[in-house]
């Protein structure tokens, strides 16, 4: 399987400002890659380097085994890009904007644009200046997805979208993966990336500090439970559960963390009178960084 994105010691400094430091990364064909990091980490810098909007000060990048700068036009045919701050001339109508962008790519079936707009609940006849921030973001999503590109590069694609539309977006990503498209998406939020990504990388201060398959993360996932009982509690049964930690029993309430599947827990609970149960989502990001073992080609965040 070929690499769609391959980065070798890719670096970018803006004058004396740090942008990106010696980034090594590969993304395979058909993969959905989540690119996480706090503000100013270098996510947009990486993405703009891939699109030849800016040029590296060190290292190399390949898209489909070609130089992003020398083959920019050919590569851009195969890429759909959503900028972190998607803006277009606001004095035009949505359909006018999308038709023009489609024409730059040799045209996209009208039906495809209407389908996407329909799913995202975007009014094609509206003037862009009259749209809310989230609705403008939808225009950006449509133009990125409409030509079914081999590679989708999405910089914070869900910013400004309401939860319902975020779900639609995740569906679009899943469909893209099912169709064999590769997706590289940046985000601040682990949960949204984790929902669709095969792998995630975390970048901090211009360096990749973690890189892991989401499936492996899930295996380590820790759920926190907070259970209130209506009857007596068999403390020893809980203490004997595999993978349990931090067990505290306070009156009718038991709190603990569980690092294994909840099957055994459910068997124990079945023998109790349960009044209420609360399980918190595992904080994958925390876990990710805590348990992370550096893999080949990944920089440790040593001199950050």
């Amino acid at each position: 399987m070929g690499y769609v994105i391959r980065l070798e010691k890719l670096s970018k400094t803006y004058g004396s400002r740090r942008g990106l430091v010696d980034l090594d990364l590969t993304v395979g064909e058909g993969e959905v890659f989540g690119y996480l990091g706090p503000n100013g980490a270098g996510k947009s810098t990486t993405i703009r380097l891939l699109l030849d909007l800016i040029r590296p000060t060190g290292g190399k990048a390949w898209l489909f085994d070609r130089n992003p700068s020398e083959h920019a036009v050919d590569l851009h045919r195969r890429i759909g890009y959503l900028a972190g701050d998607f803006v277009v001339n606001p004095r035009q109508r949505v359909s006018e904007c999308l038709t023009f962008l489609a024409a730059l790519r040799g045209g996209v079936p009208r039906q495809r644009i209407e389908d996407l707009a329909g799913r995202l609940d975007l009014d094609l006849s509206a003037r862009i200046k009259t749209l809310s921030k989230g609705n403008r973001q939808k225009v950006g999503l449509v133009q990125a997805f409409m030509h079914r590109p081999d590679l989708l590069i999405l910089d914070e694609p869900t910013s400004g979208l309401d939860p319902l539309v975020q779900q639609t977006f995740l569906d679009l990503v899943r469909e893209a993966r099912a169709a064999g498209q590769t997706v590289f998406m940046s985000s601040h939020i682990m949960t949204e990336v984790e929902a669709v990504a095969d792998r995630v990388g975390i970048i901090r201060e211009g360096r990749l500090v973690a890189l892991e398959a989401v499936a492996r993360l899930r295996d380590h996932a820790i759920h926190r439970f907070d259970i209130t009982f209506a009857g007596p509690i068999d403390q020893s049964a809980f203490a004997a559960l595999p993978g349990i930690s931090d067990l505290t029993i306070d009156g009718p309430t038991a709190q603990f963390a569980l690092a294994a599947s909840p099957n055994d827990l459910i068997r124990v609970l079945a023998r109790h009178e349960v009044a209420s149960i609360r399980a918190t989502e595992p904080d994958l990001e925390e876990l990710f960084l805590a348990h992370y073992q550096p893999a080949d080609g990944v920089q440790e965040n040593s001199n950050a």
Binding site: L51, I54, A83, V87, L101, A103, R105
Partner: protein
């Protein structure tokens, strides 16, 4: 199928229509004052001017149609508005759109930077020549009524072609500075300052003995050899065109080399 050039023109249609009609209206209005001038009013008014000043303002024979139009309508008003149009359009073409964030999207499509610059340059040229054509039509409309028929249609056309090139040239300066720097303010300021300096070099410099300076000024190649009297000045037009081509090439090269502002 729309492309960058047609879309640029379409998006700027209102501004272009405003500029073209405005310029044509102002031009036609002042042109239609000619009969009063010819009757001697202006001759008397400029009698007190020194010969140098008269020459500077192309007023040696203000009473002739070509002399009047060459000093007023095509000497100041129309080129001023046309150059403002060119500079405004050229500033927006690269640096303005880049600062607004529009270029990220365009250049992430299968559009090379070279193509973007050339299409924007093309849109500027088409806009400038549209403006010049509307001015020409307005002149032809008032030509007989304003007793301007000593100037042939070809002579009017020659002056308007020079006008189109002049506006394109100053717009291209703004494009080139914008392509090199990405700064809207720099593109706007430098092309405006250059415009003022060039105008001064053509009109004021000869008066203070710096006669050679005018040959550096596009305004000289626009009107110095009086197209309204002498028709098409092919060498002058060629010099304007060549300058545009050289500046355009500089814009392409510099735009290809640098980072896009984020």
């Amino acid at each position: 199928m729309p492309n960058v050039l047609t879309k640029t023109l379409w998006d700027s249609r209102r501004g272009l229509a405003g500029f073209a009609l405005g310029t044509a209206l102002v031009g036609a209005m002042y042109a239609s004052f000619y009969p009063q001038i010819a009757d001697g009013a202006m001759e008397q008014a400029v009698e007190g001017f020194s010969p140098a000043l008269r020459e500077a303002l192309n007023m040696e024979d203000i009473a002739s149609a070509a002399g009047y139009l060459g000093s007023s309508v095509f000497g100041i008003l129309v080129p001023l508005i046309a150059v403002i149009y060119g500079i405004a359009t050229g500033t927006r073409a690269i640096a303005g759109d880049e600062e607004a964030g529009y270029l990220d999207l365009l250049l992430s499509h299968p559009v090379s930077r070279t193509r973007l610059v050339l299409h924007r340059l093309g849109a500027l040229a088409i806009g400038s020549f549209t403006l010049a054509a509307v001015v020409l039509l307005a002149m032809l409309a008032v030509r007989t009524g304003a007793r301007l028929d000593t100037i042939t249609i070809a002579q009017f056309a020659a002056q308007c072609v020079a006008l189109g090139l002049l506006a394109t040239l100053f717009g291209t300066i703004a494009i080139t500075v914008g392509a090199a720097t990405g700064s809207r303010a720099t593109a706007l300021a430098s092309s405006t300052v250059l415009g003022v300096l060039c105008y001064a070099a053509d009109t004021v410099a000869p008066q203070i003995g710096a006669d050679g300076a005018r040959y550096l000024s596009p305004f000289h190649y626009y009107i110095g050899n009086q197209p309204l009297r002498n028709g098409f000045q092919w060498i002058d037009l060629g010099i304007l065109l060549a300058t545009i081509i050289v500046l355009g090439a500089l814009a392409v090269v510099s735009f290809n080399r640098r980072d896009l502002a984020s």
